[in-house]
Each structure stands twice: as C-alpha cells, then as structure tokens.
Symmetry: C3
Subunit: 336 residues, 3 copies
C-alpha cells in the first residue's frame, strides 16, 4: 500500500490530487477500482480516461486536464508504469545463503549475499556475485560466472564455461551452453564436433522459459547488454545478438546469425544461418529471414490467413505463378 | 488381463462372442494378435476388419455383422477405446506421502492422499488437494493451489500464485507462471514490467512437455476446463483459452490472445497479440493468424510444399504479384 | 597441448612441417594464432589459407602446396577436424559412481562404471550400462534401459519404458516418453487415450535441449541409429525417424510421421501427421510438409522475405490469385 505522494516521491514525478490517496494495486483504466493506480500510455486508449474508476492514473502532462481522477504526471507514462510495477510485485524474495539441500563445490566462489535454493548444484570453479539468486534445482556448470544481481529460476540449466553479466534474469527450463548442432558428415554417418566455445551474456539480459542458447563451436555465442529474449527461442551456436534487441517467443536463429542492436523479432520468426541483420530492423511474426538485411526497416514474409476453402485455391495458383506470368507476357507481346 | 465379459462390464457395453475370451493388450486392427483388443472408429479402415487377427474389436453396431471375431459394441467406439486404454496402462502408480528427499514448507497444506516425489519443492502457502501427484524435481511456488487428482510430471515448474483445478495433467519441463514478456522502451533500453497477474487453469486441462504458460501482466492468464495443450506451445501473458479447445505442438500465442471454446489449432500455428478467435474455429498447421476470427470455420495460410527448384520460381513471382496484377489490368483495359 | 606429430599419430594422418610444433587450441583460419590448429574443408574459404596465422592447418592433399604453414593432410578434413575437436574439449568428465544425493531404486541395475549425479532419480527396473552418465537432477523412469556410453545432461526427463541404445547424448530439459497427444472427442469433451507404447532409440543418437519425443499410443515411437536432433524439436507419438537423419531446431513432426534415412530437415519445418518421407530427402527451413514425399530431392514452401510495405501488396494479391488466373484465362480466350 502506498499513498499518492509516496509514489510520486519514489518515481520522482509530479502529481495532482489528494497526497494521502491510498493505492493498493495496479490495473488497466477499464479494470481499475478506487484503490488502483492505472496508466495511459497509448493515446488510442484516451477515451477510456473519462470513465475510469481508478484512484489515480499515470499519464503524460498533455492529458492532465482530461483526467477525472488524481494523477501522476510523467513524460514517459509507460516507463513510469514499468517502474511502479516493481513496488506492487508479490514475487517471493530469496534469502541469502546456501540451502542445506543444495550441492555446491568446495572451490566455487559464492558471494555471502548470494542465495542458492534446495537441490541446486553449483560445480567447481563457478563464481556467483552479490545478490545472485539460484532457484531450486538449477544446475550451474564448471567455471560459470554470474554477475551481481543475476537471478536464475528453478530447474534452469547452465552448462560449463558460460558467463552472465549483472542483473540478468534466466527463467525456468532455459538451457544456456548446450552443444551447438555441429556434426561432420563422415563415411559412416555424422561425426560430432565438440563445441569448444562458451556463451557470453552481457548485463540486464532476460532469457525466457524453455529458451536454448547453444555454446559456440570455436568462438563464443554472444548476447549483448540489455537484450531480451522470450520463451521457447532457439539461439544456435555462434550467434551474436546486439544490444537492446528483443526476440519474441518461438523464434529460431540458425548458427552464426548476427543481429544488430535495437532490433525486434516478433514471434515464430526463423533466420537461416550465417546471415547478418543490421541495427534497427523489425521483423514481423513468422517471417522466414533467408538473407542478410542491410537497411533498417520492417520486413515480412508469409501469406495472409484466409478460409481454408479460399486458401486452397490461392495455394494451387501459387504453384502456377511462373506459368501465369509467362502466359501474361505472351499476351502482352501479342497485343502490342 | 481381462475377459471379454469383464471389459464389457467395465465399459457398460454389449458384446458378442466368447465371454471368457482372454484379452491382454490393445492393438490396431492390422497389428493385433489373438489376445489383443482392437477398435474400428473410422469407416476408412473398415476394410481391415475382414482380415484382423484380433481377439476382439470395439466397433459401432453397424459393423457387427461384418466382424469376423468377437466384439464390444459401442455407439462411440473411439471413446470406448479411450476408456479401455486406462485399463491397460503400465504407468507406474504414485504412493501417497512426502518423499524424504522433498523440501516442503511447513505451512503448505498437503492433503494426506497427495504424493510428493524426491527433490520436489513445495513453497509456503501452497495447497495440494487429494490425490495430487507431484513428480520428482517439480517446483511448486508460493501460494499455488492444485486441485484434487492433478498430476505434475518430473521437473515441471510452477511459479508462485498459479492455480490449477482438478484432474489436470502437467508434463515434464512445462513452465506455468513465468513472467510475461512485458517491457517498456525507456531512454536507456527496455524497462521490465513486473508481471503481477497469475495463471488460472480449470479442471481436466492437459499441458504438454516444455510448454510455457506465462503469468498475466495485471490480470490472470486463463485456461478453461477441458482445454488440451500439446508440447512446446507458448501461451503469452493474459491469453484466455476456452473450454475444450485443443492446441497442437509448437504453436505460439502472443499476448492477450482470446480463443473461444471447442476450437482446434493444429501444430506450428502463430497468433498475433490482442486478437479474438470465436468458438468452433479450426486453424490448420503453421497458419499465421493475423487478425480476429469472428465466424466458425476452418482457416489457413502458407504455401504448398514443392520441389525447391519449382518453389524458387513461384517465390520470385510472389514478389512480383502486384506488378503482375497491374500488367493484367492494363491488358484488360487495352483489350476492351 | 599436443605436438603436430602427436596429432598426426592420433588421427592417423600424414603431416608436413615441424613434428614438435606445439598446438594448444582449435580456431578458424582467420582467427587462429601460431599455437592454433585450423582447418580448410570448404574450397570457398581457400583464399583465407594464404594469410592464415595458424600454427598448422588440416586440409585436403590438393591444398598442401598452397599452405603457408604446417599441415595435417586428410582426405576428409572436416571429419578429421571433428575427431580432433574431442582432444581439445574442456567439458568436465564425470566420475563413476552414484552421488550421495541421488535417489536410485534398489532394483535398478546400475553398471559400476556408470555415473549418477546429485538429485538424479532412477526408478525401479531401470538398467544403466557401462559408462552411462546421468547428470544432476535427471529423472529416469521405471524399466528404462540406457546402453553403454549414453550421456544424459542435467534435468532431462525420461518417462517409463523408454530404451536408448549406446553412445547417445540427451541434452538438458529434453523429455523422452511423455504422453502422445491422443484424445477422443467424447460427448462431454476430450477423453484421454492412455499412451501405451514406449520410445525406442538406437545407437549414437543425439537429442537436443528442450526437445520432446512422445511415447507411442499403441506401438513405439522409434528413432534409428545415428539420427541427430537439434533443440526444441517436437516428435509426436508413433513417429519413426530413419538412420542418420538430421533434424534442425524448432521443427515439429505430427503423429505417425515416417521419415527415411539420410534425410535433413532444416529449422522450423512442420510435417503433418501420417505422411511418409522417403530416404535422402532434404527439406528447407520453415517448410510446411503437407503430403508424403516419394522422390529423393529438396523441397520447400513459404514466401521470400520482403520489406513489409512490398509484402503487404503481394499478400493482398495472393488472396486474389484465383481471380487473377481467371481474368488471365478470359483475356487469352478473347485474344484468340
């Protein structure tokens, strides 16, 4: 529970209204009740302001006049909302120390302010910084380094020689540093190529549940500061993901893909191996990226959803497209 | 091992043939031997009835005359087959009680008929109903509630404040309640928005291996009674999946997707965020759902598989489609 | 650290240069320093040979003359590189024996040369061969059999009655033998069909992180010798994957798919159920395989990546393709 004034104080924002107003939760403009704090960050939802029952609203100075209730005034209402969300989080806090049911190698370096949960394993030579939280059942391999404030949720696995920077979040079942998919076609079948590189992850990186980041073949797989990766994403060996790039769920990057900074890849995107995507590229959902992208912009592929009946007709014609174009060219020629 | 009569009894079905016939397993019409029970549910396979070596067959009354062996007679042969499959299951049974190597918070409420496997963790405030089975290495977060008869397979993870109804099944490595992918673009990069909602799952819901159901941002992510979800499916924050809807493997739902009741999404489907799909919609494999669907029916997208050589030609022409249509329009005009 | 002569000896290769040359690592032609061994396997990179700073290079006899540094001479340079990679691997070795924090059923048959990590669980009736390595937190179900030399990485889960051959690798969070997605549509919703089959995996099979291989409904799901499967792949019940077939990440196979030997499926491919793909088929990334493939060759589907602006135009026209072809046919008729 916070008063309006306290929140304004903590977020360094101006406010308008009753300083003592009691705010106990966050909610949408539509869903908020009189003890909830709501926010308006997208002018599309401006119409909802007039009818909100919220106790207070975070909004841009331009909308203060239209606000029927108390408000917190922010140049970046969505960022302010993100910051205030931490105050209302009910996530259980971790206690510093090593749980009796964890197995930690004698020569691992564990900061006394780190927390290691039950059934976690930390192998020899690993280093955990201040405030690191290792959830229950997590495996941290030999010689891994986790910077201060990095949190790993239950049952995630980090293979040997993986480094994470500070204030990273790794969700459950993520796998960092499994072998890249490297095999040489030999006379008797596939011969495994040991993956000798590691994984190097910067600061403030988020890695989603069931996401896999493979270790490099010779050099490292690299994820730069501030990159955010959703669930069920595959990052193959020797990929490099640039600063503050965001990758949504179910996307797959083949080996040695290089992605620049400040890119967004929507869900279900696939990128073939050995291509390079420059900074500030946005790729829409389920796009198949088949070549390098050298110009910032937005890219797509695929076909639009239709009823299956209509789709079947278009799909048949897709297979005839080259013939259709040749027929058209012939007609053009004969009509000249 | 069952006799034909016993099975008829347990399934409340009529039978024809030797009541004492011994049936030791289930098999397909083609693969069955004289001690196997087979079934005919799809009239497409009717021709296989004549030559089956099965000891008995579950079939519809219409096919009794053509059946060369004993039979169990059912209006719904496939449902009867589903029910009889439980009698032949060799899955190991769980024993009630808490394994000595589990870590259970003192104030968790565990029904004496629940079973908690080795290395499982159950956090403070969690409630497990009668007959709940928590597999080895499973993590159950603070304040979770699991209804009677719900089973969680080894190493699955349930974050805090997730509720599951009765008789649900959660397969290994599934993650329920990890953070939704919510970040605000700030002046210095992405600012994490704490995900304050939980997950609410109804009764008789099945969740596949490595499937991720994110917690809601403000409100809950909701999965209604009887929904079934396959492996490697991503359900983003604040999705709502309707009653008895089935979602096949590798499908991804972006945030705030609402899916009605009795829908089927085939494998590899992607649904963009904030769309609504009405009841009784069927989406074929790998379809990209880019907008809301308001009419029941079957929907598709994509292009058909071809040899790569032919495909390359069609793919090039796809990029020229607008020009092709304009050339066609010009010809039409000139030929008038 | 190895001398050039030692490496030549261990790989049974001829060499040219200083037998005592000290080689401490592997690297690419471009990245290598004077103590690194590099390789040239693709003539595309031949130009990099002249300027390499490597201590030695593995290459084909045809390139010896152009090599400015010492070399190891191989008919199959990439295979030789794969073999030498094992000598430079820094993966920690497992120690034989059962960790005190593992839970192993009294009647499991564990070879004394097997290694079982902390918090692993091995259930009754399981059999582990010589040199098997069970990582921390792995679950091995009732009656599973793992052949000699098979390695399972931390937290992977193997349900009951799954057999793996010798020298397989199973990466973290993989799930072998979870229930196939089998349900009968009953009058009150989906009725679960118990999945009574198991999984049968041959020798030298690799299974990636977060990959799911479901157990069969009646018969087994089968993966033959030498098949290699990347991360986040879904193999549904009763699939059969042929010898030495390779499947890249994020691919999904629906139920009862049969894939022949020596096939390659690139990333993000989807295969509908009940189709058969013959030997020596190659499927490019994100292809939707909608029917059986009976001829060896390369197959594709999808549309090429474009700027979103251009794509939108083509996408609209895709929906009009049948009309476009009809307009074209009408013009052709009138111009005859």
């Amino acid at each position: 529970m916070y008063s309006l004034e306290e929140l304004a104080d903590r977020l360094s924002l101006a406010f308008s209204g009753d300083p003592a107003r009691r705010l106990t939760g966050l909610a949408t403009l539509d869903g908020a009740g009189p003890e909830d704090l709501a926010f308006l960050s997208n002018s599309k939802y401006q119409g909802r302001l007039a009818t909100t029952r919220a106790g207070a609203v975070i909004l841009h100075p331009d909308f203060v006049d239209q606000c029927p209730v108390d408000c917190l005034i922010s140049e970046y209402p969505y960022v302010s909302f993100a910051r205030v969300s931490h105050l209302f989080d009910r996530s259980p806090a971790a206690t510093a120390g090593i749980h009796a049911a964890a197995v930690v190698a004698v020569d691992a370096e564990i900061h006394p302010g780190a927390s290691i949960g039950p059934h976690a394993v930390v192998e020899a030579g690993a280093t955990l910084g201040e405030g690191v939280v290792i959830g229950a059942g997590v495996y941290v391999g030999h010689r891994c380094r986790l910077g201060a404030g990095t949190r790993v949720f239950p049952n995630a696995v980090i293979y040997h020689d993986v480094h994470l920077g500070e204030h990273c979040t790794v969700h459950s079942q993520a796998v960092l540093g499994a072998d890249g998919f490297g095999f040489a076609p030999g006379p008797d079948g596939w011969e495994k190529i040991c993956q000798l590189g590691g994984v190097r992850i910067g600061d403030r990186v988020e890695i989603g549940a069931c996401t896999t980041i493979d270790r490099g073949a010779l050099d490292h797989t690299v994820i730069e500061d501030g990159a955010i990766i959703d669930n069920l994403v595959q990052v193959a060996h020797n990929c490099r993901i640039g600063k503050n790039t965001a990758i949504a769920g179910c996307t797959g990057l083949a080996g040695s893909t290089i992605i620049g900074a400040n890119c967004t890849l929507a869900g279900g995107v696939g990128v073939v191996g050995h291509v390079e995507i420059c900074d500030n590229v946005h790729v829409t959902g389920m796009t198949m990226v088949t070549k390098s992208i050298t110009e910032p912009g937005t890219y797509s592929s695929g076909t639009p959803m239709m009823t299956t009946k209509d789709w079947k007709r278009s799909a048949v014609r897709f297979g005839q497209l080259d013939a259709i174009q040749r027929r058209l060219a012939a007609l053009e020629k004969s009509s000249q």
